[in-house]
Amino acid sequence: MDIIIIGVLLGGAYALMAMGLQLQYGVARIMNLASGEVLVAGSFAAFWFFTGANYSPIYSIFFVAPVAFGLNWLIYKIFMRPLVKRAKSEGQLEVDSILSTFGQSFILVGLMLAIFGGKYFNYSYLERPFDILGQAYELNRIVAFLFSITLCIVLYVWLNRTRVGLTLRAVSVNPEAAGLVGIDVPNAAALAFALGGAVTAAGGALLSMFLTFDASVGVIFTMKALVIVIMGGVRDIRGTILVAFILGLLETGVATLIDPGLTLASAYLLFILTLIVRPEGIFGKRSK
C-alpha cells in the first residue's frame, strides 16, 4: 500500500516532466536531450527562491514557468529553427537535434556547476506528516502531486478544447498538411517547444520539494522522460500519463523491495519490454 501511494505521488511529477518532452518531440519534432537539465534548472530556481527569499516553491512556479517559456522560445528560434530549415530528411533533423541539444545540456550542466557547485541540494518545505488511510506521508509530496495533476489536466483540456491546442495537435499529426490548411507551422512548433520547456521546468520546481538534486543529475531525468514518451506512444498524451504512473510505481517498488540503486535499471526494464513487445507504444498506432 505504501509503495502504491508513494509510487502514484512520484508518477504525478513524472507525468508533468514527460508531458513537457512530449510537446517538444511530438509537435516540434525535436528530441530534446537537454530536457533533464531544464528540469534541474527549475529545481535550482525553486531552491534559490526558497532559501534566498523564503518564497514557497509553489509560487516560484509562476516565475519559473514564464521565464522557461521565454528562454526555450529563444533556444528554438536561435538553435533549433536553423536545423529544421537545413534538414533534408527527418533522420537528418533527428541526428542534428540530438547533437545540438546534447551540447545545450552540457552547457547547462557547466553553467549550473559554475554557479552552484557540485554539491547535493535539498530544502525542507512542508515536511509535515499527512495521513492517508492511516499511514503518514510527507505533505510536500502530496502538494507536489496535486499541482502536477492539476497542470496536466489543464494542459490536456487546453490541447483538446481550444483552437491553439487544435493547431498544435494538427502539426503533431502532419506538419506538411497542417501548413497546407493555413497553420503557421514554424510558430506552432516554437510555441510547443517553449511550452514544453515551461512545463518541464515547472515539474522540476515541484520535484525539488521532495527530491535531492545536484547539477549533473539531469541526464537521469532525461532518460526517464524519454522512456515514458516512447512507451506511451509518441503522439498520445494519455499514454504518457499512464506510463508515468507505471514508472513511478515500478521505481518505488524496486527501490523499497530490492535496492534503491536500481531505479534507472527498472526504467530500462520497462523500455526493453516496450521495444520487444510494442515498439509503437501503448496507445501508439502502428505506422507502416
Binding site: G110, L226, Y268, F271, L275
Partner: protein, 319 residues
Amino acid sequence: MIEDKFLTRRELAGFIIAIVALAIAAMLPVLNTGYILSLGVTIAMYTVLSTSWALFSGPTHYISLATAAFFGLGMYVVGSGIEVLPFPILAIIATCAGAVLAFLIGVATLRLSGIYFVIFTLGLAEFIRQIVTWVQTTMGTSSGLYVLINIEEKTIYWRLLCLAAFVYLIGWGINRSRLGFALRIIGNDEEVAKHSGINVALVKVLLFMISGSIAALTGALLAPRWTYIEPTIAFSPMLSFLVVIMALVGGAQRLWGPILGVIPFALVWDLITAQFPNQTALMLGIAFLLVVYAIPNGIGGQGAKYWAKFKHWRDFRVT
C-alpha cells in the same frame, strides 16, 4: 564499384604514410618521459575508440552512446578473471563479450527507428553500472576489483597501437567489401537499400558488433593501467561522450577522420581538465554546438572541401 587491381596507387601511398606514421608513433617511449607516454596512451585509446565508433556510426548516422558500456565490460572481464586466467585469454573473452552485448542491443533496437537506438545507448552504461554495483554489493564484499599484474605503461601503449593498426585495416577492408558497399547505400537511403535486397538490420547489427567488440577489447587492454577498478571508473558516461565528440570533430565519414579530431581534442582536454577541472562540461557542450553549426562534416570533411576547391583552382585557373 569493386576495382580489379588489388591496390591502387592512392591506396599504396596511403599505406606507406600509415606505416611511417605508425613507426613514428611506436618510437614515443624512447623519449622516456612518463607524462608524454601517458598522454600517448590516452590518444591511442581514443583513436581506437573513435575510429571504431565511426566505423558504425559514420555510414549509418546512428549515434551510439554505448562506448563506455563496452569499455567497462572489457575492463570488468579482466578485473574479475585475472586471478584465474591468463591475460590474453581474458582479452579474447572480453572481445567476445562485447560482440554478444552489441548483438543483443542491436537486435533489440536496430530494427526500429534510429531514435530508439540513441535513447537506449544513452543510459546503457549507467544501467550496467547499476546492475554491476548491485551484484557486487549483494554477492561480494567490496565495491571494486584489483588488477595486479606486472606490466609497463609502454607495453600497454604498444598494444593499443597494434589494435589501432588493426582497426584501420578492418575499416579499410570493410570499405572495399560488399558489407561496406551495402553500408554506404543504407547511409544514403535506407528505403533504397531495402528494395535492392540488402538485409539492412543484419548489416547494422554486424557492424555494431565489430565496433562494440573493439571497444570491449580496448577496455580489457587498459584494465592493468588502473590497479583498482570501480564501476564509476569503468562505466563513466563521459567516455562515451568524448568518443562521439572526438570522432565528429574529426569527421566520421572518413576512416582517417576521427584521428584528426582525437589528437587536438585530447591535448586541449588534458589542458582543460588540469586548469579548469569544473568547466569540462561547458567545454564539451561548446564542442558539440561547434560540430553541429560550424563544422558539420568535421575537420576531415572541411579539409576535403578546401582540397577540392584548391584542385579546381589549380586545374582550371586562367593564366
